[in-house]
């Protein structure tokens, strides 16, 4: 099984140094791309590879890049922004790629910037990732010194400056256009679309925003070709995926596996199954803003298309496991408290609705709920659905709630009838 993203990642947790990456053939691809390929060639290769965005939405990276005008004279300034805000609860994959394999990301950003003809690129990094910051700043300095960044890279005539920007903590900084506002020093409130960032993004210029894992895949596609990349996955969606598991499993962690690996295999074979004394009930496939998958459904392939018929989605691919000793109402309450707190307050359904949902869940969990409360919760899953709010935050927040109300109906009813949480003595 090929593992391009993590094959050089060292078990002791240390970072891959520039010299070791170069020795392993890394950065060679930069010579090939900058000297032998046109920006359009790069875009076409990545399009053909079917690299789908690993930030959660699964949009084709090559297609996104092709929205940037090829007319460099008409639009001389354009930007690439790497979304390294990773704040989705239960998600810890980008951290690994930045802390231990910074040059792979930098190489991906050089190629992507070249493809969209950007001369400036930013890594928008979550404030909490202190180690990532140190590692990235050092790696960028090394890359400048070695001539992979800066003016006239490797004598190709192409210039690129790369900056690290650390944020100050808000989930909305991860939302594509909220991120652009944050980078401009404003509140991280999303922008109206259209115009999409490809037309008017950072400082009003054409901009591409891509996730860390998406960009880290790019050097491998250009090195080995679109056909090779597609063959890595078990389904039609190209490549491998960095899957994670957290919760009461024997061996929580991250594994790079072919895209489309069944959920059960990831939990049983890689995460080692449940900790002794705990039973598997359900899981969120890819972070807090995805719908529950029940134990009986876990043979589903973990890719973008296969989870849709189960009314869920791949999201970030980091699985959060719900065991039999954790109260599902408390679980959902924890998520909705997060979403309520992180609402940017711009639009009414989200600003007013999420705190209401949170309060109701709290009162049910504390034994003060009524059956009519379930109707109010259900009402919100429609009221905050896609199309009713300004951005995807509130719809995302409704995903674990709407599926939880169905799958854990009996548990909700028990809280209400018994007037306390059955999981708390």
């Amino acid at each position: 099984m090929e593992k391009p993203l993590t094959k050089h990642i060292m078990q002791d947790g240390s970072q891959l140094e520039l010299k070791n990456y170069v020795q392993a053939g890394g950065y060679l691809v930069i010579h090939k791309v900058l000297k032998k390929m046109s920006p359009a060639d790069v875009i076409n290769e990545v399009k053909a590879a079917n690299l789908l965005g690993r930030g959660g939405a699964g949009f084709s990276a090559g297609v996104k890049w092709s929205f940037i005008t090829a007319d460099k004279e008409a639009e001389p300034i354009r930007y690439l922004v790497c979304n390294a805000d990773e704040m989705e609860p239960g998600t810890f994959k980008d951290r690994l790629l930045m802390e231990q394999h910074p040059h792979q990301l930098i190489a991906g950003m050089i190629i992507t910037s070249y493809a969209i003809q950007a001369n400036k690129a930013y890594i928008f990094l979550r404030w909490a990732y202190k180690k990532s910051e140190t590692v990235l700043r050092k790696a960028i300095a090394q890359a400048y010194e070695a001539g992979y960044l800066g003016k006239n890279i490797l004598g190709s005539g192409y210039d690129l400056d790369l900056y690290v920007h650390t944020s100050a903590g808000r989930y909305m900084c991860g939302e594509e256009t909220g991120l652009l506002n944050a980078l401009e020093g404003k509140r991280a409130i999303p922008r109206d679309k259209p115009p999409f960032p490809a037309i008017s993004g950072l400082f009003g210029k054409p901009t591409v925003v891509n996730n860390v894992e998406t960009l880290s895949n790019v050097p491998h596609i250009l090195e080995n070709g679109a056909g090779w990349f597609k063959s890595l996955s078990l389904t039609g969606e190209g490549g491998t995926k960095l899957y994670g598991v957290s919760g009461r499993v024997k061996n929580p962690g991250l594994w790079e596996l072919p895209l489309g690996t069944p959920m059960r295999e990831i939990i049983e074979n890689y995460a080692g199954g449940m900790t002794n004394g705990y039973k598997l009930r359900a899981a969120l496939p890819g972070g807090a803003s995805t719908d529950f998958i029940m134990e009986s459904q876990m043979d589903v392939a973990m890719d973008f298309a296969s989870l849709v018929p189960l009314k869920s989605r791949l999201g970030t691919g980091t699985i959060i496991v719900l065991d039999d000793k954790t109260c599902p109402v408390a679980f959902i309450h924890n998520l909705e408290k997060f979403f309520a707190l992180e609402s940017c307050g711009w639009c009414t359904p989200c600003r007013e609705g999420l705190p209401w949902v949170e309060k109701i869940l709290k009162s049910i969990e504390e034994g003060n709920g009524k059956e009519s409360d379930l109707e109010i919760l259900k009402f919100h899953t429609h009221y905050c659905a896609p199309g009713h709010t300004f951005c995807a935050h509130a719809p995302g927040a409704m995903e674990p709630l709407q599926s939880g109300l169905i799958y854990f109906h009996d548990d909700f009813i028990r809280h209400i009838n018994e007037k306390h949480c059955p999981w708390r003595s």
């Binding site: 990773e86 704040m87 989705e88 609860p89 239960g90 998600t91 810890f92 980008d94 951290r95 979550r126 404030w127 909490a128 990732y129 202190k130 180690k131 900056y163 650390t166 944020s167 100050a168 903590g169 808000r170 989930y171 944050a182 980078l183 401009e184 020093g185 404003k186 509140r187 991280a188 400082f203 994670g244 598991v245 957290s246 919760g247 009461r248 929580p252 962690g253 991250l254 807090a288 980091t318 959060i320 496991v321 719900l322 065991d323 954790t326 408390a330 679980f331 924890n334 998520l335 997060f338 707190l341 992180e342 940017c344």
Partner: protein
């Protein structure tokens, strides 16, 4: 009043952007780094330096969780209350620390040594429960570990 050094650092950061007002958040971080938190006076000073309204700067300052508009202690303890840490038991960790320091979330010890705050998922879910003290991450927390950890911060 901003010090000369603060002004220099802020204006230096502002050079990275097409216009200086984009350095608003950087300015808040620079001042907070030196003074621990952001006072009303600092908000006005930053606004004046970057030609922004005080309302704009305060709007930015109050939006972000890691900009403090209230005084905090010398060390800030951030306990992750994300979903994976909930499953793995952040609550006993919180109760233990709260009891030991005599403060709840949002409070500061009377000697101004510690402020205790919740923080959303730290992206360290395979080593839950986790917390940060200032810039340092601690994970796979057990109650035994905590006493020893707090001693390092005087």
């Amino acid at each position: 009043m901003l010090t000369e050094k603060e002004k220099y650092e802020i204006l230096d950061e502002a050079k990275l952007y097409p216009y200086p007002s984009a350095a608003c958040l950087d300015a808040l971080k620079i001042v907070q780094h030196r003074r621990g938190w952001i006072t009303d006076e600092s908000v006005s000073d930053i606004a004046a330096l970057l030609s922004l309204s005080t309302e704009h700067v305060d709007g930015v300052a109050t939006f972000y969780s890691r900009i403090y508009r209230h005084e905090v202690g010398r060390h800030v303890i951030l306990i992750c209350d994300g979903i994976s840490c909930m499953i793995m038991g952040y609550e006993p960790v919180y109760e233990y620390i709260a009891e030991k320091l005599g403060i709840r979330f949002g409070e500061t010890t009377s000697d101004k040594r510690f402020t205790l705050l919740p923080v959303s998922c730290l992206g360290d879910c395979d080593h839950a429960p986790s917390m940060m003290i200032n810039n340092d991450l601690y994970n796979d927390l057990t109650l035994e570990k905590i006493d020893h950890l707090l001693e390092k911060y005087v």
